[in-house]
Amino acid sequence: VPLLVRMHVYSGRPDPEWIIDSNLAPEISRLAGGKIGIHPSALGQLGYRGFTVFDTTRVNEPAPMFTAQLPDGAQGPSTSIAGIPELEAMLLWTGRDHVPDDLAVHVQNRLQQRVILRADELGHNCPACTAKDAPPYNPGLWNQPGRRAHNNCYNYANNQVTNSFAQPGLASSTPFSVIDCASVRNSAQSDGLTACPTYSAYLAPGAGWYVALVVWPSQDYHWYRQDDVGCWSHKLGRNTARNIDDAGNAIRDPQTCDRGPYSVFCTFMVTSSAVRIR
């Protein structure tokens, strides 16, 4: 029984569709792994939004292979395969004779902007957020083409889009000269951030939110921020904002999460909307 693949991408034109052999069904099911429909891109983003695979046995009423309940507050159920880049890339490959090159590039770019929400984990076992100004986790704001590559971890931690790949100390004419904790922290302090020993003290509205500085000795620095749910998130340079660490886990404390080569934890700091970065 052939399967029908529909790519959800257009708004005005009919979405591209093509037929694939049913012997791919086991691989599709394996890669799907019960994770269908939890990705925010399935909820109404313009441009690429995912795939649906239909069983064509019932000619007049093709049935989606998968359905899933969407997160709270969304209309459901969903039949979108989204948030599973391995499966989406495979489905894109099956449509290589039906999808124009420029459209395929658009989809590939979206797939490379993977954001794993792990909505099932967040809100559970996160530490308390005591900063009333803590921003919500909103990766869509940062992962848009044209914005993603021009804003880094410092932009993200301070929740300020400058499109300048902001550097600590640049706005206050105190750039760091070497990559170590003291130098980068001093530059950030001159921008208006303040160092603090923990992230447990109450911060009233207007007082800002917590961020954390870590260093890859002699090479680079990196920042995390605490979101309003209590867990932490970060943006990897010109790459995506996300709320998981290098091991794929929710970040409950940047001191102990998997940070790759950024081996030195420097300090927690407080930033606010009054801080100016460049």
Partner: protein
């Protein structure tokens, strides 16, 4: 004429290092990518802290600009995924930037490539 700029995706705070390929290197890149076999297996989309691959922006004098992304043994170009068998293209690209990269950083990337065959 084209120009190809290689960006080593590795940093989070500082701008990533980048350099231009010579005309001879551009031809060699095109040859290596064209000879790589197209695969059905999708590219991996790991984006860890630290080394995250090479992105090559090709500015075409005629036609559209193109981005090629090479990481972890996979090449993504023009909507197709190809296999960088043995990660030879990644290793070769690292060598094209040897005069631009601090030796310590180059050694780190070399180790990352070697560590994930």
């Amino acid at each position: 004429m084209m120009s190809a700029v290689v960006t080593l995706e590795v940093f989070s705070g500082r701008p990533d290092p980048h350099w231009s390929l010579t005309a001879r290197e551009e031809v060699e890149l095109d040859r290596r990518v064209s000879n790589a076999s197209i695969i059905r297996a999708p590219a991996r989309h790991d984006e860890p802290l630290g080394y995250r691959g090479f992105r090559i922006h090709i500015n075409a004098a005629r036609g559209r600009d193109t981005d090629i992304w090479i990481y972890n043994g996979c090449i993504v170009a023009r909507g197709q995924t190809r296999k960088d068998r043995g990660r030879y293209i990644e290793r070769w690209l690292l060598k094209t930037g040897k005069t631009e990269l601090p030796s310590e950083l180059a050694a780190y990337v070399d180790g990352e490539i070697a560590g994930k065959p």
